[in-house]
């Protein structure tokens, strides 16, 4: 795989149950808190804990169109923070070649409860919910709000969608298609996925415990993280150092199963190899790994084996114990956390882990907040469908 040029990240926005902006999220992680609870934003008789955003987060006074799906509201909220963080004038977004590339699951699915209820009650359903589905997703919402004129892409690679969106968006900058790309992931908590994961028997009925011997599955979450990627030209115009860089990206399929991780981890290994080769990094360059770490039996076993094989001794952790699994947003949220940790020089404890699993290699996740050395780290996501995506991120100096 050929090495690629680093792509500058000018700004980041993040919202999830840990906080409504990235700084609050990362402070929350360092405090070691978490507050999963049964869902309140939709009605269900199930009681599996989730990580919902309970605050009224949406800044409706700053957004032109407000009758939107919750996923779109999450994406727009994070985008506002990212643009502010990048100190970009909104006019630049209208005048430059600006693309939007967002990963999602629910945002691109059919959120039409009213339609189903009408249909189920024997009434001819009103078609507005379907019509709204047909014209609404987070990518389009961001493009409409900020008047962008570049390419749009909605990535629906299940749980790796957010990472893939960032990797693909970096390509748009490198190839000169765009001056700026608004990229990331967004997903809301939703009754269908909540019930669906229960059907697969991979929901934990208590707070999740990634990499622990007593792990029973995942807790779902919701949120969004948005990155502002910029070209060299924009970087020079801004006269401000970028916040970080995407150095490399790799993705590969397991070609194995719809919902199970490939036992030999081959797809993940291929994705890691591509990410490392494109970024010209070697394992000793990596300060830490923000692992996928869902808390499911299969994922954590395979992931720990692969990490131990390729990155022996490199600290790793999962942040899903603090946020839940935010599905299509997860890759972007965890990439944002990765950069924030590099900036702080410290990684959070892998909350939920207390007892090692003897089936795993004797390499344990970070058990308390720890200082790190280095300015480059890996963020990896594994997804339904056997998608594996890996980003190499850095806060060091990487002139493009």
């Amino acid at each position: 795989m050929k090495p690629v040029k680093p792509v500058a990240i000018a700004g980041i926005g993040c919202i999830c149950s840990a906080g409504l902006i990235l700084k609050d999220c990362i402070d929350f992680l360092y405090k070691g808190e978490r507050h999963p609870a049964p869902p309140v934003n939709f009605s269900t008789r199930l009681t599996f804990p989730v990580f919902e955003i309970l605050e009224d987060f949406f800044p409706s006074d700053l957004i032109k169109k407000t009758n939107l799906l919750r996923t779109c509201k999450l994406a727009l909220t994070a985008t506002l923070e990212a643009i502010s963080d990048a100190e970009l004038d909104r006019k630049i977004l209208e005048n430059k070649r600006v693309g939007v590339c967002i990963g999602t699951n629910v945002g691109s699915s059919m959120n039409n409860e009213a339609f189903c209820l009408d249909d189920g009650d024997g009434r001819d359903p009103f078609i507005s919910p379907v019509k709204r589905f047909l014209i609404s997703n987070p990518t389009s919402s961001i493009a409409a709000e900020f008047g962008t004129t570049g390419p749009l892409q909605t990535v629906v690679n299940a749980c790796s969608s957010g990472s893939d969106a960032l990797g693909l968006a970096a390509s748009w900058i490198r190839s000169g298609i765009c001056d700026v790309v608004i990229a990331g992931g967004a997903d809301e908590m939703y009754q269908i996925t909540y019930t669906g994961f229960k059907s697969l028997l991979i929901n934990d009925d208590s707070p999740c415990k990634p990499f622990d011997i007593n792990r029973k599955g995942l807790n779902l979450g919701e949120g969004a993280a948005i990155f502002i990627l910029v070209s060299e030209e924009i970087l020079k115009e801004r006269k401000k150092d970028p916040r970080a860089y995407i150095l490399g990206y790799g993705s590969a399929s397991d070609a194995y199963h719809h919902t199970k991780t490939r036992p030999d981890g081959k797809g993940l290994k291929v994705a890691i190899q591509e990410a490392m080769e494109t970024s010209k990094m070697v394992p000793s360059d990596i300060a830490f790994i923000n692992a996928h770490g869902t808390g499911t039996l299969d994922n954590d076993l395979v992931e720990s084996c692969v990490l131990n094989e390729i990155f022996p001794g490199v600290p790793f952790f999962s942040t899903k114990g603090y946020t839940g699994h935010t599905l299509g947003a997860a890759g972007a949220i965890e990439a944002a956390f990765t950069i924030a940790c590099l900036e702080q020089g410290m990684v959070p404890a892998n909350v939920g882990f207390t007892t090692p699993d003897p089936k795993m290699p004797p390499a344990y996740p970070v058990q308390q907040n720890s200082t790190i050395n280095g300015n480059t780290a890996l963020s990896e996501t594994l997804a339904f469908g056997g998608n594996n995506s890996v980003l190499v991120l850095s806060t060091g100096e990487h002139p493009a």
Partner: protein, 367 residues
Amino acid sequence: MKISIKGIGVLGGFGCGIAELEEALNAGKSSVSTVVIKTTAGDIDVPAFLANADMLESFVDKRNLRRIDHYTRMALLGCYLALEDADMLDVDRGHMGIVVATGYGATCNTFDLQHSVITEADPFCSPTQFSNSVHNVAATQISILLKELGPNLSVSHYDMSITSAFSSACQWLQEERVETVLVGGVDEFCKILGYFWHCLYNAGNEKVDFAGKKSPEHAIIGEGANFFVLTREKEAASPYGFIEAVRMGNFERKGINLPENAAFFIGADGYSGCDDKYESFLSEKAKVASYSHLYGGIPVGMGFDIAIAALGNKAGTVFKSAESPIYNQGRLDVIEHDEDLGSKRICCLKLGAGGSFGWIGLNRSNF
């Protein structure tokens, strides 16, 4: 850009495979089915171009298809036909990427799943149904059956899904991430979309035949799949031609820069609300054609236009168009009979919701 089309796999209302697509092009029509949907006001008849994916069993053992629904079967068959056409079924495909576009995803399964979860007293759903409702289910099954470990991408951006997918496929080839990409689109008919069509276009429950349809607003729902094998090409000639450019943007905010010396295959299908806007972006007497009368209104319909363009490149012909979806025909030069392609390139153009546009340019020559 030197990216060539090596193989094409298509199925839709016109039939299955490029030979049946060519037959439909020559005949100028496809057969319309009628689906009966129950409502409180009685049964409604919804016309639709439906696709038959039975031929998939000639590529995949029946036992391996047991839990695979119609949506994914269509995608799989499109892929196998494309690989067969490229003579790549039984050879080492090298490092291949997969990109699947869909406007709506697996709608039948997804709506059934939502219905059961939302309306049943006991919140339960089948794990198979849930995993088959995930938007990347088709791409997953393709990678499993083809044993492909390369990059795998699913995109879902309604009318722009095909342009978006081709953009990434071409990007991967240019970056030399992969040697080959299997790229295409799939969408299926479901009763909800049928009911949607009925509410929008046919409240009087009149039977509508596409050939004699009353106005461009009356579209026929389509379903099907269109897949392509793309590779980087060193040679100057390739039978199906080359992907010259892929462009996306917003025509309301910034207009469209279209290529010169081109025949335009427009994506007017009666659905997007944009059918009357194409004309304003085309120059006086521009050569123009529309083929949605063969495949219907379907978000990934642009893929069929690309297939028709590639077949045209191979034959050196621009196939005759349907007239009905093209507005203001007097200003344009509608291709009423098969014509010699000459040195023209072909531009497949799609306008979509929110002012979005996408176009993909194909050229017979690599220069």
